[in-house]
């Protein structure tokens, strides 16, 4: 099938609308040899998706660039202006509203149950079979269990960690740290960050996690 583009460069790229192939027939002769395979040079299938991140830099599956300074990822940006951060971190509303993109962004399906990624301990035992999507959706049943919103923010942090990993960029909280924070909190009912004299309550932990998101 030929390229539908005219050969000469258009005067205004923004006005150019690329038409789809005119006669989109699957070629019966060649089709038996076609495979919608996932990867490999020159192969077919959905090879790569560059996810749109309007308002910040673009990320792809093989590394990206962030709108931070110099060599871009070399100076830590001040945490109170996270929109300039190199990290992937999105708030739970983003993950709630974009559930279709979980698989390609983080390799995790929204139907994944809580127990498949985190240990449901103590009062959280009842979260066991809720899906990660239900947790970020904050359904009534989830809210009744996750009163201090820790599970909500932990699941959000986990998705961010996985998305950062896939995009090949640093994460404020990598996955193993997210799990460690959850383990301590779910075992003890509180979380004591290193260097801190006092342990945080659930609400304080949830609030902290939220500051690492945009």
């Amino acid at each position: 099938m030929e390229d539908q583009e005219g050969r000469s460069a258009p005067a205004n790229a923004a006005q150019e609308a690329q038409a789809a192939p005119a006669v989109p027939q699957l070629d019966a002769r060649g089709a038996s040899r076609r495979r919608f395979t996932r990867a490999g040079a020159g192969a077919a299938g959905v090879i790569l998706t560059l996810h749109s991140q309007p308002g910040m830099a673009t990320y792809g599956n093989y590394g990206g660039v962030c709108a931070s300074p110099s060599g871009f990822m070399s100076i830590k940006t001040a945490s109170h202006n996270p929109k300039n951060s190199c990290s992937y971190n999105r708030s739970f509303t983003f993950w709630r509203d974009n559930s279709k993109s979980w698989k390609s962004r983080c390799g995790t399906r929204p139907e994944t149950r809580f127990v498949e990624v985190l240990q449901p301990r103590g009062a959280y035992i009842h979260l066991k079979n809720f899906t990660l999507l239900q947790i970020v959706q904050q359904t009534k049943e989830v809210r009744a269990i996750d009163r201090s919103f820790v599970a909500l923010q932990i699941v959000t942090a986990l998705l961010n960690a996985r998305a950062s990993e896939r995009a090949g960029i640093p994460s404020v909280l990598p996955e193993d740290q997210v799990v460690a924070i959850w383990d301590e909190y779910s075992l003890k009912g509180s979380y004591k960050p290193s260097g801190s004299a006092k342990a945080w309550t659930g609400l304080q932990l949830a609030a902290y996690l939220q500051t690492t998101f945009r």
């Binding site: 871009f72 100076i75 001040a78």
Partner: protein, 305 residues
């Protein structure tokens, strides 16, 4: 035309401390405020040729680099960057004031200049034709760029390639070329006549120095260029200088990944990259010896003649 050099040291410092130095770099005017005397001195050296506008001229960006206050001034003093009242970066040790200024200038453009597709890439020009060198970390792009501009190629930018949305031409943004660690020595040997800042150690990138852009490149900052090649460089010890063509659809994706505002521009971003890919030849480039690398670029140019 008023330049930084023609202001003289006293007036330069007065403007920086007072109403701001309105410095023109490529298409942008930055109003710079800073009380830091060493920064003023370095600006005087590295930006001597650059145009300065009068007080009251409209600026695209307003940046402030200030020192620490109180006791901090005496104990490991720092430099702070403020933009429009925000502090986008954490403070750095005071001796990193000039690198921080450069990084701040890059940040302004990469996060705000949405009348162009802004690619994280060096771009150089000869005979009206531009070669874009996208720059994932570790590619050796700056070293290669610094070498090329000392062998007859014009510096358009060493970090930020500005692609016009309407016609796809490249607008220059010549500024000091940043080099780090071993590259500093390599380029000093390669270009003994070039002017460098004193190297600054212990930055997040290691030791950093900047090479002044040539007067010619600054004088021609208003001359756009047509893109002819995109070359993804990769320095590799012992590698022969070799170009490998990159398939066009792949080139589109790799360019988009290296562009700061590709997503922000939406469909316009898509078409701008698509047009660029249509108009240029795209290569991966491995090299180790700078002279061999330069020769490859000269051959590309000769093929177009």
């Amino acid at each position: 035309m008023l330049t930084v050099a023609s202001l003289g040291e006293r007036e330069l410092r007065a403007r920086l401390r007072g109403p701001g130095l309105r410095l023109q770099t490529g298409p942008f005017v930055t109003c710079v405020h800073s009380p830091l005397a060493p920064l003023a001195a370095t600006l005087g050296t590295m930006y001597g040729d650059y145009p300065v506008l009068e007080e009251g001229a409209l600026a695209d960006f307003h940046v402030r680099l200030s020192g620490s206050t109180g006791l901090r001034r005496f104990l490991r003093p720092q430099v702070h960057f403020h933009y429009d009242g925000m502090a986008p970066f954490q403070p750095l040790p005071l001796d990193q004031a000039f690198p921080m200024f450069e990084w701040a200038m890059n940040w302004c453009v990469s996060s705000q200049a949405n009348s162009w597709l802004v690619i994280h890439a060096a771009v150089i020009e000869k005979d009206g034709l531009a070669a874009i060198l996208p720059a994932p970390p570790g590619s050796g792009k700056s070293t290669l760029c610094a070498a090329l501009v000392n062998r007859g190629w014009r510096l358009l930018s060493d970090e930020l390639t500005l692609v016009r949305l309407d016609d796809g031409k490249i607008d220059p943004l010549p500024r000091p070329v940043s080099l780090k660690n071993a590259s500093i020595g390599i380029i000093r040997d390669y270009a003994p006549a070039a002017a460098f800042t004193r190297p600054v150690a212990d930055t997040v990138k290691g030791t950093v120095a900047h090479m002044r852009a040539s007067s010619d490149s600054v004088a021609r900052a208003g001359q756009a260029a047509a893109p002819a090649w995109i070359v993804f460089p990769k320095w590799q010890a012992g590698a022969a200088a070799e170009l490998t063509p990159v398939p066009q659809a792949r080139a589109h994706m790799r360019l988009a990944e290296n562009a700061f505002n590709y997503s922000l521009l939406g469909e316009t971003g898509f078409h701008t990259v698509a047009r660029l890919v249509d108009e240029v030849r795209t290569f991966d480039f491995h090299y180790s010896v700078l002279d061999d690398a330069i020769a490859v670029f000269e051959r590309l140019l000769a093929e177009r003649a």
